[in-house]
């Protein structure tokens, strides 16, 4: 590095000149975070971000959670954001610090999670020189952020940070990267509080739906005989009031409700109108209702391939009302008959009001009109799509989740997951009653998400019971964050459904690849009990069904972090399932007689 520049003063000493308060860039960062209402940062220090860490040293209002790998910081920030509705904040250094966050940034982009990632950068005069720990952070993250910016002058810093928070939360939320060179962190400049800076971009997404669309949708719904609400993460992102508006609309129109993986909790699982999750491993009744409905009301959901199955066989007879704050989601994969652009809450409330305004003759009593539809649904429910063969000698993974739910349902509980079979079983068997209680990597499908996400959730909700429902393979991807949990007294619980396999990979190899289990068995797994103890956490194990309840109870009663190694039946498959290349009404169920390896035809084999 070159000789220190004249601005290399102690960054916590503010100077005042020319009327406006002058702060160092690092102080501006810290002040902006405080003014934006940030309470927690997830980060890891390094050379290019040390001035900001120095400024943090003097700021008691910001709690910094020191992770063990920057990917963990990004997922923890996601967990924080998903459980609070506020943007998660990450602070990392240049080069590897920045690149290690990329998986978490893409994860947040795919699942529309508000996040602000502050990265240090080499000093401006060294940018482009292949300096130590230099990388083109804005170049690398341009395609995986909602927006990003390299701040080259301290005069622009405050406005850039406030703009980052605005963009992260406004419209369809997403991650924003702010890359700050080290010399900018040292330089003195003016600080402007939020609200006093002008937005840098014209970005102003539509929040209130167009009146014409509301009227058209209301008339469609009022005339429906087989209506269905299909809701997604957009309802969660819109805030708890959107979930209330959803429940009110469902009652008003008498329609059943299903949801994507991301939308679980917006509608209570105990409500009789709840059909369960839709999609590849969704509920039999939900998928059949999707297929047979006549008016589909999609709210904050994006017709992901895991939801739709085969597109040309997707809900062939329905008119589709698509509510989304992102116009590019509407009509992207499935044609919308009514496009309603706006915030989920605003759209749901507008719909409710409009339907109530229709003359009584135009909206006959739903109970009588929809009775045949509910009869169909009752028939599908009788099929018991989630049924599994119980065992007295082996712990069934489904049963493990059922027991976990039974023993935790009365607690203030938040669930995170990794990715794979355990994630689907958690979505199927854990019953969510409220929004923001379910944190999972939906779009990107990131193994290793759940443990750091649990840390972020626990930081935001210190007194809650936070459980990562994990698989033995996923959890090893970010296991080092147990050390973070111990350091910061975050008593997360890691509930590992241990089948010694990459279970979903094994299942697909059984289904699609002639039972050739290529590299999906994890030999030499660690002893998870000893591993927990090595970190200073409580380690528990359950190997037989009669041990499970006591082990779960010990886990949730533990005052600190705990890992429960739950040894489950190794080759259990996650069912029901819409096989690749099939439609919703072609699900395979656990008790189907056809061998699983023949359930998917040649064309379906090439799909993901």
């Amino acid at each position: 590095m070159n000789a220190p520049s004249p601005t290399l003063t102690a960054p916590h000493q503010a100077a005042v000149s020319s009327g406006k308060e002058q702060l160092s860039g690092a102080q501006i960062v810290v002040r902006a975070l405080v003014d934006q209402g940030v309470t927690h940062l997830f980060g890891y220090p390094g050379g290019a971000v040390l001035p900001i860490y120095d400024a943090l040293f003097h700021e008691p209002r910001l709690q910094h959670i020191l992770v063990r790998h920057e990917q963990g910081a990004a997922h923890a920030a996601e967990g924080y954001a998903r459980s609070t509705g506020r943007p998660g904040v990450v602070l990392v250094t240049s080069g590897p610090g920045a690149t290690n966050t990329v998986t978490g940034i893409v994860d947040a982009l795919m699942d529309s999670i508000p996040m602000v990632v502050i990265t240090g950068q080499v000093p401006t005069h060294l940018i482009g020189s292949d300096a130590f720990q230099e990388c083109d952070t804005v170049g690398i993250t341009r395609s995986c952020t909602k927006h990003n910016v390299l701040v080259k002058s301290v005069d622009d810093l405050a406005a850039a940070l406030h703009e980052a928070f605005r963009i992260a939360v406004e419209g369809r939320p997403g991650p924003v990267v702010v890359d700050i060179p080290k010399d900018v962190q040292f330089a003195l400049g003016p600080y402007t509080p939020p609200g006093e800076t002008r937005p840098i971009h014209a970005y102003a997404p539509q929040r209130i739906p167009d009146r014409a669309a509301v009227i058209e949708a209301a008339q469609l719904i009022a005339g429906a005989r087989r209506p269905l609400l299909y809701t997604g993460g957009g309802v969660i992102n819109s805030g708890p009031a959107a979930s209330l508006a959803l429940r009110a609309l469902a009652r008003q129109i008498g329609a059943p409700v299903t949801s994507t993986l991301m939308g679980l909790g917006a509608f209570p699982a105990d409500d009789p109108a709840w059909l369960g999750m839709v999609g590849m491993h969704g509920a039999y009744e939900a998928n059949h209702a999707m297929h047979d409905c006549d008016v589909m009301i999609a709210v904050g959901a994006r017709f992901d391939d895991r939801v739709t199955g085969r597109l040309d066989g997707f809900s062939p007879g329905s008119k589709k009302i698509h509510i989304d704050i992102d116009p590019s989601s509407i009509g992207k994969l499935v044609k919308a008959d009514v496009a309603m652009v706006g915030d989920a809450r605003a759209c749901l409330e507008a719909l409710s009001a409009e339907i109530a305004r229709l003359p009584k003759t135009a909206r006959p009593d739903p109970a009588a009109r929809l009775a045949p539809w509910w009869d169909d649904i009752a028939r599908w429910r009788e099929r018991r799509g989630f049924a599994y063969r119980p065992s007295t000698s082996l712990i069934k993974p489904q049963w493990a989740i059922e027991r976990l739910y039974a023993l935790t349902r009365d607690r203030d509980v938040f669930i995170t997951t990794e990715v794979g079979q355990h994630q689907m079983w958690a979505a199927q068997f854990y019953r969510f009653q409220e929004p923001n209680r379910w944190m999972t990597s939906g779009g990107l499908g990131t193994m290793g998400y759940g443990l750091p996400a649990a840390i972020g959730v626990q930081a935001a909700h210190p007194n809650a019971l936070v459980i990562d429902i994990a698989g033995d393979a996923s959890v090893l991807m970010t296991m080092q964050e147990m050390s973070t949990a111990l350091q910061h007294d975050l008593p997360i619980k890691v509930f590992i459904l241990n089948n010694e396999w990459m279970g979903m990979v094994r299942q697909w190899q059984q289904l699609l690849h002639g039972e050739r289990y290529s590299h999906s068995y994890s030999a030499s797994l660690p002893d998870f009990v000893k591993l927990a103890e090595a970190y200073g956490a409580l380690g528990l194990r359950a190997e037989r069904p009669d041990e499970l309840d006591a082990a779960i109870q010990s886990m949730i009663d533990a005052p600190g972090p705990a890992i429960l190694d739950c040894r489950v039946e190794a080759t259990e498959n996650c069912l029901p399932m819409i096989p690749s290349g099939k439609a919703h009404n072609e699900m395979i169920l656990a008790d189907d007689v056809e061998p699983l390896s023949q359930a998917i035809d040649e064309a379906g084999r090439s799909l993901v």
Binding site: H147, N148, I167, G309, R310, L311, S328, K332, L333, S580
Partner: protein, 191 residues
């Protein structure tokens, strides 16, 4: 970005990119010109071009320059191809970029004007030389450089006119072509 002189550009995807889309949609593809007004900030061109690359859309031509210094806005004109569905998605995706201020499909806008400039180099002599000059006059192309064995013509106009001119020059000693790509603007309001 594709070479505009390649015989046939790679077709834009004709169906949405779903893992479960089994194909089968057949909508006709058409060309479209989008005028995109963006904040002139570092990396903004990369955002737009990266969007096309990431989602598998094709760029047939691209022009970009700052057009309003006080408001720091640049105008990017992109010629692309796709089915109506794909073109609709391109427009929506462009509008979604935080740096975007305005997106206009100039092709479907009756007030849209599209022009292009090309420099066309020919090497010839004898009757071909006279024929080339004659055709250039008919197309109102200017001679911007001349030697005893060739010309460089400057021609402006609609892209189709330029294509036609280049086609006519091909047997008359055409050596090289440089085109600006399409520029577009909206007609002034009447009255």
């Amino acid at each position: 970005m594709s070479d505009p002189h390649a015989p046939s550009p790679a077709p834009a995807p004709s169906a949405p990119a779903s893992a479960y889309d089994m194909g089968g949609r057949s909508e006709a593809e058409g060309a479209a010109t989008f005028a995109v007004l963006v904040d002139n900030e570092p990396g903004v061109l990369h955002r737009v071009v990266g969007l096309f690359a990431a989602r598998g859309y094709n760029i047939e031509s691209l022009t970009v320059a700052e057009t309003d210094r006080t408001r720091h806005t640049s105008r990017i004109t992109i010629v692309t191809r796709g089915t109506p569905h794909v073109l609709g998605q391109i427009e929506a995706q462009l509008k979604k970029l935080v740096s975007t201020r305005q997106v206009q499909n100039v092709t479907t806008d009756p007030n849209g004007v599209e022009r292009e400039l090309a420099l066309v180099k020919v090497r010839n002599g004898g009757p071909d030389r006279l024929e080339a000059k004659l055709l250039a006059d008919i197309f109102r192309a200017k001679v911007v450089d001349t030697t005893t064995t060739g010309f460089i013509f400057e021609i402006t106009g609609a892209p189709a006119k330029i294509d036609k001119f280049i086609g006519l020059m091909a047997p008359l000693g055409l050596i090289e072509v440089s085109r600006t790509g399409v520029l577009s603007i909206e007609r002034a309001a009447e009255g």
